[in-house]
């Protein structure tokens, strides 16, 4: 029993240590963000941020769009099959619109980026650790947080909310396809109903979540990359860990944010 409690305590401390490390990393990265800004920062960092925006955001649009269409269609079909029995097919529109803007949009965009870019960030930094590139930056008096992490964080903070909007648009559009085939609802009326069902709070809560998810994905990816010691095998392990941990933390953070918005909202 004592051993069990001991191991639970040790594991808990380890997790807390990890979250503490993430918080310190977040503070350092946020402080370094000013160096990436277009007018006040270093222009080469801004260029690096744009490259990252293309990789994290623009390149992910087709995949995220397709995933959102599939999820929107699934949500509408599942909702429709139940709501039809109560003659409440119009509520499918509310379900899809609110479901995507509050929840599925930010989560889907975050999971897609975690799989695509979280792993890539971790592999890139891990390889830089193994090949002494991070040490080189340090001895050149260049802060690796400023040089490597800050452009990625800025890119993710801008592109993941944008991807969330893409997700919402495609998911809600898929909801219309379902409604069109099941009730012959026109697009104009559908869009009108969507705007009727949404309030600003739904959109803002989704945005806040997506910003938090962006920070989690980049920081976990970077932290796993910086923790690489040894050879290529360690890079592979860090890549897997980055995806697993960032996806897990995104879902945990989502629960916390949803709880905050739920308890602070009007009922």
């Amino acid at each position: 029993m004592a051993k069990f409690v001991e191991s639970v305590g040790r594991d808990t401390l380890k997790r807390l240590d990890y979250v503490g490390g993430l918080s310190i990393g977040l503070w350092d990265a946020v402080r370094a963000l000013r160096t990436t800004l277009p007018l006040t920062g270093n222009r080469y960092r801004w260029k690096a941020s744009i490259v990252q925006m293309l990789q994290i955001g623009v390149d992910a649009i087709p995949m995220v769009g397709l995933m959102a269409m599939c999820c929107g269609f699934i949500l509408a079909m599942q909702g429709g099959s139940e709501l039809r029995r109560y003659g409440a097919m119009s509520l499918v529109i509310d379900l899809v619109a609110i479901g995507f803007t509050r929840e599925i949009g930010p989560l889907l965009a975050a999971i897609a980026v975690s799989g695509r870019s979280g792993s890539a960030i971790s592999a890139e930094i891990g390889t830089m650790m193994v090949s002494e590139e991070i040490d080189t930056l340090k001895v050149m008096a260049i802060d690796p947080i400023e040089f490597v992490v800050a452009p990625k964080l800025l890119a993710a903070l801008i592109t993941i909310p944008c991807l969330t909007v893409v997700c919402n648009v495609f998911g809600i559009f898929a909801g219309w396809i379902f409604m069109f085939f099941s009730t012959h609802l026109g697009l104009k009326l559908y869009v009108h109903e969507v705007f009727d069902s949404l309030v600003l709070r739904d959109v803002v809560s989704g945005f806040i979540k997506s910003i938090a998810f962006a920070a989690i994905i980049v920081l976990v990816g970077c932290m796993e990359g910086f923790s690489v010691r040894g050879g290529p095998e360690a890079v592979g392990r860090s890549t897997t860990a980055a995806v697993v941990k960032s996806t897990f933390l995104v879902i945990v953070a989502d629960m916390f944010f949803t709880a905050i918005f739920y308890f602070t909202g009007k009922h």
């Binding site: 590139e133 040490d135 080189t136 008096a141």
Partner: protein
């Protein structure tokens, strides 16, 4: 006058003492070669000289600043006067050769791009890579990569130039070319050079003084002639290339003895 002073430097990894109270003075303008076999502590000493690790005790004073206790800002200032060429060259694979060389200039100076371009070309010409600026590191041979890393180390015209195993993995001709490059750089740019190596030919060609490391302590520090004349048994063994009898140690003998007496061999 000493530009680098190492005083009572002690480094331990997991309770194992790797550097045991080292003392060393490197004079301004000299070429100091840190010679030693594998596992002698050369790379650890180098990492401490560059402030990449903090020792258990002792100090490393570079240009009057104790880099083991100074602030990060002071460490950055000291590092700007040190150029480092790592064993693996550690060029950034995502950047062209000229971008690699331009990186410290872009980070630490406000020079116009045209001046940086000219400076980069001059540094690349000095190492014989004037035509290779547009190539990526993966398109270069091992020797060319090392030379490119020397050009990058020279970018900020450092007062101290550090080489980690410059000849490692190179054929004798390319290694000799690199030795020439070190001598040429020192003569042209008037700097202090610290070279970590286990290559005897290279060490005796480029050194003003040699410090011989063995099991974390200096066996001898002196001029080339003093080192050649030393009668220290470990130093003589290294200079005369006498192998250790690793196959006839007590552990190996007892293992074979046990194996030969086992029932599978002698039923």
């Amino acid at each position: 006058m000493s530009i680098i002073s190492v005083r009572n430097l002690v480094v331990e990894y997991g309770g194992r003492r790797v550097l045991d109270g080292l003392n060393l003075e490197v004079e301004a303008g000299e070429t100091m070669v840190l010679l030693g076999g594998s596992g002698a502590g050369k790379s650890t000493l180098l990492r401490n000289l560059l402030g990449l690790e903090r020792p258990q005790s002792g100090s490393v004073v570079v240009k009057g600043v104790d880099i083991t206790t100074c602030s990060p800002a002071e460490l950055k200032r000291v590092r700007r006067s040190i150029g480092v060429s790592f064993q693996s060259a550690a060029l950034f694979n995502s950047l062209t050769v000229e971008d690699n060389v331009a990186l410290p200039l872009r980070e630490h100076t406000s020079l116009a791009p045209s001046i940086i371009e000219l400076d980069v070309w001059m540094k690349l010409a000095a190492v014989g890579l004037a035509d290779c600026g547009k190539l990526y590191p993966q398109e270069l041979s091992g020797g060319m990569r090392k030379r490119a890393s020397v050009a990058r180390a020279l970018a900020l015209d450092p007062e101290i130039l550090v080489f980690d195993e410059p000849s490692a993995g190179l054929d004798p001709i390319v290694a000799a070319e690199l030795d020439d490059l070190i001598l040429f750089s020192k003569r042209v740019f008037q700097m202090t050079v610290v070279v970590v190596t286990h290559e005897l030919a290279s060490a005796f060609r480029i050194a003003d003084r040699i410090a011989m490391l063995y099991n974390g302590t200096f066996l001898a520090v002196g001029s080339k002639d003093e080192i050649r004349a030393s009668q220290n048994p470990h130093l003589r063994q290294f200079l005369d290339r006498v192998p250790d009898n690793i196959a006839t140690t007590h552990v190996v003998e007892s293992f074979f003895d046990k194996y030969l007496r086992s029932p599978e061999v002698t039923p």
